[in-house]
Amino acid sequence: MDQNKKVFELKKIAKSFDGEQILKGIDLDIHEKEFVTLLGPSGCGKTTTLRIIGGFVTPDSGDVLFLGKRINDIPPYKRKVNTVFQKYALFPHLDVFENVAFGLRLVKTPEKEIVQRVREMLALVNLSGFESRRVDLLSGGQQQRVAIARALVNRPNVLLLDEPLGALDLKLRKEMQIELKRIQQSLGITFVYVTHDQEEALTMSDTVVVMNEGRIQQIGTPQDIYNEPANAFTASFIGESNIISGIMHRDRLVEFAGRNYECVDGGFAKDEPVDIVVRPEDVEIAPATSEFLCGTVKDVIFKGVHYEMHVACNDFMWRVQSTDFTPVGAEVGLRITPEDIHIMHRTTYGGEKG
């Protein structure tokens, strides 16, 4: 896979609506054949970013480059990009076949080729035999597939997907996640996917772009984003985490919860105040001895694979996941190993403390 060729480049993109700044300087490269996910809470600017790529929104400042060429003012219908809309936006007056054929008819494709390509696409999304169905009589999942086929049949360079699975139930959503990934890999098209669902982002993406309040918080592989969150926002948004403030005394020595810990990070200023992230599944229950940070189990919830408990240590409530049951009220120690301590520069974001 040639993942180095840039398809889209966004440079210092800013956009305001009604005086409210939605995007505050977005820099993002999207490469060929990459599955990029824009992930963030609602209102973070992820959909606006997608609409700028699609051409539905013109940025106030900054440049949009497509294969190296500036396309800020090129309208959507002249871009080699297609979109799968949030609410599908199928044409209610056309049947399944004609919905998919819409883009091909506009460029005067010969009828034989239209029939062949539409059939191919419908087979790809498992809708063979649905050609003459009315779209308003299809289920949500089927409408979704028509929308995907309608976009992909035009062989776009980039497919944009705006929370396409949001309206589907959990089981169908999981199936479609796998299916979308399969389609993306078999066609070798760049996908730019918008979601607020972190699990969806981690499951499907090559690259995850975490956004909040109009800024990109972190760009990385799903593993990077999960294991090495760049700041407290990413850490709290992706998965569950304990975020505690501490002081980085020197490289590989950090103090938090009143104790010094050995860690693997370095490169901070001497005695710099930092945020520390520890994933609940990385905290291990140990005997309540002076060797460990100690606390009292406040509650225990059975989650199937594991027990989730809250352990109060001084004024901080630790979230801990363990496969072993520990009763409420027990005094326990918490073992935290150096590689499970993630240290981040302090940001304005407060996170969920305790």
Binding site: V81, F85, L90, F91, P92, H93, E98, F102, G103, L106
Partner: protein, 272 residues
């Protein structure tokens, strides 16, 4: 519940029988009888002589309907894309003239179009000679368009508000520019509005007697004026008036059937 629903429809059914079905039969009865109540087709023969007036009525009404459609369509579309508050304000502005009496509004046009009316006074004041405006077919068409255009705008507007913005964006996204989106998406989706708007303008326009009487003069004597004089005017003839009404009704039905046939074909074509 089911029983209740049936009961609630009874007043409407009674209303329909009293004021629509029975009068229709009466028209039919009078059309085929003479003053003494005997069967005759003389009235129909007389009514057929009015066909030139009927043709004129249909053609002026058709012109007015097409003009209404052409003017109302872009207006209704841009109105449907406004913010909710603006849409409310616009529909109020459209309804506003209808709060004024219909006759009064047509009188106003008379005053504007007269030989010594507002327009000609303005023309004279800048040194131009007067133009003949009143008592022309153009004045009748103008009166029809002015009076009936709200009935075109409102049904169009109501179907267009149902066209989701994302559907238009999808068309745009798939490569359709403005005209392709109009032709392939907006037009087929607004077809029901076009059909009901056209009906609501054409039917009252073809049978009008006030507009033609006040703005058209003797040269624009329409079928509506004929019917009026036969029922209320100096050439009182209940039976002949009924026959003429019946003829007009048949022509309207045929015209609407032809129109619906073509618009259905259009809709089907879009579906293929």
């Amino acid at each position: 519940m089911k029983l209740n629903a049936r009961w609630t429809s009874y007043p409407y059914i009674v209303w329909m029988i009293l004021f629509t079905v029975i009068p229709l039969f009466l028209i039919g009865y009078f059309a085929f009888t003479d003053a003494s109540g005997d069967f005759t087709i003389a009235n129909m023969e007389q009514a057929v002589k009015y066909i030139p007036a009927l043709v004129k009525s249909v053609s002026l009404a058709a012109i007015a309907t097409v003009l209404c459609l052409v003017l109302a369509y872009p207006f209704a579309f841009s109105m449907s894309r406004l913010s909710f508050e603006r849409q409310k304000m616009m529909s109020m502005l459209i309804m506003l003239p209808m709060w004024m009496n219909f006759l009064l509004r047509t009188y106003a046009w008379q005053a504007i179009l007269e030989d010594n009316g507002v327009i000609n006074m303005l023309l004279n004041s800048v040194g131009l000679s007067s133009v003949k405006l009143i008592n022309t077919s153009g004045a009748v068409v103008l009166g029809m368009v002015y009076n009936y255009i709200p009935f075109m705008i409102l049904p169009l507007y109501s179907v267009m508000t149902k066209i989701d913005k994302s559907v238009l964006e999808a068309a745009n996204d798939l490569g359709a520019g403005f005209f392709a989106t109009l032709y392939r998406v907006i037009l087929p989706l607004s077809m029901p509005g076009i059909v009901s708007g056209t009906t609501m303008v054409f039917v009252p326009a073809v049978s009008t007697f006030v507009i033609s009487g006040m703005l058209g003069g003797v040269n624009n004597y329409l079928i509506g004026d004929l019917i009026e004089t036969q029922f209320l005017g100096n050439s009182y003839d209940l039976n002949c008036g009924s026959a003429t009404s019946l003829l007009l009704m048949i022509v309207v039905l045929i015209t609407m059937a032809i129109f619906n046939h073509f618009s259905d074909e259009d809709a089907e074509e879009a579906l293929v």
